[in-house]
């Protein structure tokens, strides 16, 4: 059973990626910018995170992950009215064609300045 949280947490970002070093470096970068960050190492953990607190202002999503892929997470989010409106920034080493339509896309290795510009539009 999902909980309908009252409002979007406007400075919190969920990073979903199985690459621990990248996640750690991104947490540092975003923390310096004043964001609070939650992390998930695969798609299933991401959906659990989304169910366990107020919706983040943005989800940064990898595509190739164990257990549950980024595309599956995105599809599951679109089926849930409470999650469908959360902006998703796909950050992947795969081509843009592999990213789900409707999500923002940024190819790895990312340009941190460009990523921060995108994040500022939503958070």
């Amino acid at each position: 059973m999902t909980t309908a949280w009252p409002s979007v947490c406007d400075r919190e970002i969920l990073i979903v990626d199985d690459e621990a070093d990248f996640v750690a470096s991104l947490v540092e970068l975003l923390a310096d910018e004043g964001y609070s960050v939650r992390t998930a190492a695969n798609g299933r953990e991401a959906l659990e995170q989304l169910d366990s607190g107020p919706p983040p202002c943005l989800v940064i999503l990898d595509l190739r992950m164990p257990v549950m892929s980024g595309n599956e997470v995105y599809a599951a989010m679109q089926k849930r009215p409470d999650l469908a409106s959360i902006p998703v920034l796909v950050s992947s080493s795969s081509d843009a064609s592999k990213a789900p339509a409707g999500a923002l896309y940024m190819r790895k290795p990312i340009n941190p300045d460009r990523m921060l510009d995108v994040i500022r539009q939503f958070c």
Binding site: D21, R64, S93, D95, K108
Partner: protein
């Protein structure tokens, strides 16, 4: 062809072939075929001589009543049947002469003698012509039958399915491989519509193919799908030829059907393996680089001014490594047969040129002379063409004359757009020009510079993927110009 083929199952074909070589007169035909006129003339004279001997043998018993016509006519008929019309004429001439001698000796020249000889001549000529004509027709019919039998045997033993249909799409021929491939017996399928083989959505396939044939087009290795009796969908390759009547009118189509389901599945599997390999390779190579880039970026914000150049160097190397990984992956994909994947969108080539120029001008400020003329709109993968132009511009500065400007000219030209990148400086050697788009080739002045010699190879592959052309010309006076031409 189809009528003959229809009556000749493999067993029948063999018996027909045997019959052809066992007919009466074929002994002579077989033994004497190819003989010159002189030789069949001797044989014909021999026939007539034999008749003469028979007449000489009977004369003592029958006297003047010996029927010379009945004796010589078989010789004429035999010569006509065995050696043709000319032999028949020769036998007629010889027999008539012999008859004239016999009659003269028996009766002298009388009106009856002349009438008998005239009658004999007429009957002999008519018989010779008729028999030679019958023989020729029979020979031709047997030859056609033999050809048809051989053809039917070839069709039947073919490993590929062969189907003949008429202009209404009715099946007229169906070989054993077609039976095996589609699961329908010959008896049940002849006369049926070819549409029984068409999967849903492809019902009009055969009409389109027939239309192309009637329009004079060849249809070879046409890849499509067909449905078997048990509902399976096969990937097939068709080669279709027109079937014409004696007047040259197209009356149907013969098609060779090859099942390429396994080939296509193998190709798809190879594609999947290639994409999996490249995806994994890209993922594994880019991820650590990603962590380095983001960490250094954070570090740059936190550390004092003195360490900034060191961090900038790490970031620069990271960028270069990232570009090299992209190039190696593009190269590997091309060499594995995947080509460069494109994501074309409508756009303006001038903006692609400006973006590439802006990127390179960061390093060479104010040195690109850009001009554009004509309609530059089209549908391309802007990121990939940006990559091509950035590579050409970067090379122009690296290998061109120091301090000289580089020209970037875009021109809309009918159905295509052409872009020239020109630099002054030493000409590229003739032998280097011929393999400049080969992988791992680097110019002689590039010693000590970074890169793998893949830039122009990938530029070439990107332009090819757009169905365009890339070329280069170089001389000491005009400088070096790389030209890219891509259809809109």
């Amino acid at each position: 062809m189809t009528e003959k083929g229809r009556t000749s199952e493999s067993g029948k074909s063999k018996s027909m072939t045997t019959r052809v070589s066992a007919g009466t007169g074929d002994f002579f035909r077989a033994g004497l075929s190819g003989l010159s006129g002189a030789v069949w003339g001797v044989w014909t004279a021999g026939f007539v001589s034999l008749a003469w001997l028979v007449r000489e043998f009977l004369y003592p018993f029958l006297g003047a009543a010996t029927p010379f016509g009945l004796i010589f006519l078989p010789a004429i008929l035999g010569a006509s049947w065995c050696f043709g019309r000319n032999a028949g004429l020769l036998a007629t001439a010889l027999s008539t002469a012999a008859g004239a001698i016999f009659l003269y000796h028996a009766e002298g020249w009388t009106a009856r003698t002349v009438i008998v000889l005239d009658l004999f001549l007429l009957i002999s000529l008519a018989s010779a012509f008729a028999l030679a004509s019958i023989r020729r027709s029979r020979d031709e019919a047997l030859k056609r039958e033999e050809m048809a039998s051989r053809f039917a045997a070839v069709v039947d033993s073919s490993e590929d399915a062969i189907i003949v249909k008429d202009l209404d799409g009715r099946i007229r021929e169906w070989n054993r491989s077609a039976e095996r491939l589609f699961g329908y017996n010959r008896q049940e399928v002849i006369g049926q519509s070819i549409e029984i083989l068409m999967p849903g959505g492809r019902m009009d396939d055969w009409k389109k193919i027939l239309g192309r044939l009637i329009g004079g087009e060849r249809v070879e290795h046409f890849e499509t799908q067909r449905r078997t009796r048990d509902g399976r969908i096969l990937d097939v390759s068709l080669t279709v030829s027109p079937v014409r009547d004696r007047d040259g009118r197209i009356v149907g189509a013969a098609k060779i059907v090859r099942d390429v389901t396994a080939d296509l599945e193998a190709r798809r599997e190879a594609d999947r393996t290639r994409e999996l390999f490249l995806g994994t390779l890209g993922h594994e190579l880019r991820n650590p680089l990603n962590a380095i880039a983001v960490s250094v970026h954070t570090l740059k914000r936190r550390t004092p001014e003195a360490t900034q150049p060191i961090l900038a160097r790490i970031l620069g190397s990271t960028d270069r490594m990232s570009r090299m990984i992209d190039q190696l992956l593009d190269f590997t994909r091309s060499r594995l047969g995947g080509g460069i994947p494109l994501q074309p969108t409508p756009g303006d080539f001038a903006s692609i040129c400006r973006a590439a120029a802006d990127e390179i001008e960061v390093l060479y400020p104010g040195r690109i002379r850009f001009s554009a003329e004509g309609d530059l709109s089209g549908r391309w993968d802007a990121d990939r063409l940006h990559q091509v132009l950035a590579n050409l511009l970067s090379n122009a500065f690296l290998y061109g004359a120091k301090g000289e400007p580089v020209g970037l000219t875009a021109r809309g030209d009918g159905a295509s757009v052409r872009v020239d990148v020109t630099n002054r400086g030493p000409a590229i050697a003739e032998d280097a020009l011929s393999m400049i788009f080969d992988p791992f080739r680097r110019g002689p002045t590039a010693t000590g510079r970074s890169g793998q010699g893949l830039g122009l190879f990938i530029a070439h592959e990107i332009v090819l993927a757009h169905r365009g052309e890339i070329s280069v010309r170089s001389d000491p006076v005009e400088g070096t110009t790389f030209s890219v031409k891509v259809p809109r």
